[in-house]
Subunit: 340 residues, 2 copies
């Protein structure tokens, strides 16, 4: 049986209240007494029962982490794990715990999240997706990772995806590309919509338009191989493509090779997420690191600040991204005959 505060009190010959005070710093208690009790508690291997503490404090020191329903988890890219690590480190520094909330076939994530709130498991909720129509009428603070549609009323942490894609496109333009495609656009994901907008902006500033025929969904290499082949068979084909993820870029590179097109000689590629695999790909991918670890850290820090009252609810944090130039983008000799 684990020692309780009463056991410690009995051994120390004091009351439970005194023990409680001794262990939680702050309060009115004499220094020698504090030391003595802490010593005894240590010897008895006493650890306060958190359930009991939560009950009286009405605060669990547990943050619920809500995973998206559509199992974005098995994307096969290290985005979620990295975010999770960031969250975990920031939480454990403040001795907070994380409750994993995943949906299942029977119970969607939103419902599971609600249940966790209702039954008092969590003091806060962090949503790993901006898409899940997250509950706004929550009775605990909610922080979103990503860009919610009703951003103004919310707490969220995100990259500036418009800017990131703008920079990506700009990078291509500066390298002489004027025919730019986009791989991985999925209207249901706000971040891909944002990125599309960024690309569009950069093109417009250069007096160009985003060619809708060059807009491909995530699985295009598998599901729209024919369409891809046609697009890249034309004389006026994209000389560069912005890919939503390194893995997509790698897939695309292979698909293009099937068409007799090489990266970067024939087509330049810039992608997102700076994965290991992209770094060691041949050619090494020019990519944008969105710093998922930082996304996690910041989200947790924001949550903790809200809980401690340091920050008031509608608050947004922007995590800077980094464009990493490598070998998958080539400088086009200007005066090229290919154009949009």
């Amino acid at each position: 049986m684990k020692a309780t505060i009463k056991d410690v009190a009995r051994v120390a010959g004091v009351s439970p209240s005194t023990v409680s005070r001794a262990l939680h710093g702050s309060d009115r208690i004499s220094e020698p007494m504090r030391r003595r009790i802490q010593q005894i508690a240590r010897e008895m291997d006493f650890h306060p029962n958190q359930m009991a503490r939560s009950l009286v404090n009405r605060e669990t020191r547990i943050i619920g982490i809500v995973f998206p329903d559509d199992a974005g988890m098995n994307l096969g890219n290290p985005f979620y794990p990295a975010v999770l690590q960031g969250l975990g480190h920031a939480a454990s520094n403040e001795r907070y715990q994380m409750l994993l909330i995943t949906g299942s076939k029977e119970i969607p994530a939103a419902e599971a999240a609600r249940a966790a709130m209702d039954s008092g498991y969590v003091s806060g909720l962090i949503l790993l997706t901006a898409e899940d129509a997250p509950p706004l009428e929550a009775n605990v603070p909610v922080v979103v990772i990503g860009h919610p549609t009703d951003a103004d009323k919310r707490c969220y942490v995100d990259n500036n995806n418009v800017q990131a894609a703008y920079d990506a496109a700009k990078h291509l333009l500066e390298n002489g590309h004027r025919s730019i495609g986009l791989l991985g656009f999925e209207s249901k994901y706000v971040f891909t919509a944002d990125r599309r907008r960024g690309v569009q902006q950069a093109l417009q500033e250069a007096g160009l338009q985003l060619n809708h025929a060059w807009l491909f969904p995530a699985g295009a290499c598998r599901t729209q191989a024919e369409r891809l082949r046609e697009v890249f068979a034309q004389p006026q084909r994209p000389t560069a493509v912005v890919c939503m993820d390194d893995l997509m870029a790698i897939e695309l590179a292979r698909t293009l090779r099937g068409f007799g097109l090489l990266v970067p000689q024939d087509v330049s590629l810039i992608s997102f997420n700076n994965t290991e695999l992209g770094r060691y790909h041949q050619p090494a991918l020019t990519t944008i690191d969105v710093h998922p670890y930082q996304l996690g850290v910041k989200a947790m820090q924001l949550m903790l600040e809200i809980l401690s009252g340091k920050t008031a609810p509608p608050a947004a944090i922007d995590v800077p991204f980094t464009l990493i130039p490598r070998d998958s983008v080539i400088k086009l000799n200007t005066g090229s005959k290919t154009h949009a």
Copy 2:
């Protein structure tokens, strides 16, 4: 303020005990009363406070999931996410929650796990790694995913990695390969040691030996490029390699191409983990699916059975693997002049 059981009791004109009984099925209570109370509870949106329940029941319905320290998470392969999904689904079916326990720079995972136990957060612990010298003197049940060294005293869920690697090697042998290398061996990981053993067994049965010069660590393509080059420059080079992960196989394929060797024409590759990327690789990878999702499901189920007393502590579960033949292994014409 959320409604408590007392509020419900007051509205229903009964005692809290009666409400409690009405909501938890089983006990002695009349059917009409039960219905009436359940109805009222629903109307009042009452949800029992789990902290209070845990306190009296001494059971939190929370399972701690311990991540490895060395952030194996950012391996970039979907192994952990898939396991997590399996765990999550199995847990939520039984209305259990998962507490994510990750180590940090300051606090190693093992310590964090101990803290979670000590402070009564969790009713059980599932370790996502067999390596972290997990606490055996735990005061809650512990289930390990992987093969712990002191397996006989433990509860664990694992593939038979010896057998899996044996089958992989056998597959190569049956295709006429007699010169077989191994990529990704790390003595600190039990599963790679197991797999090495499996390969060795298969080779021995065929009257062959595992050539130690053909044993490469995980990062070999990056860190031992020269050694690789030498090995594959020799006339008696491996005609096939067993890789610990699809990603390694892909990396190796690329590295070999740099040496002028093609997969599968010059070197056959068989790997583990059946990733998307491997499936769409050119050539499609022959790989072994270890069914990480199932690993998660089984681990959680085992935990739940132990908690309910249905299963007694030392219990092992073997999750079957699947060898998926694709295009990265080629049949060698027998009578080949290359041999070990």
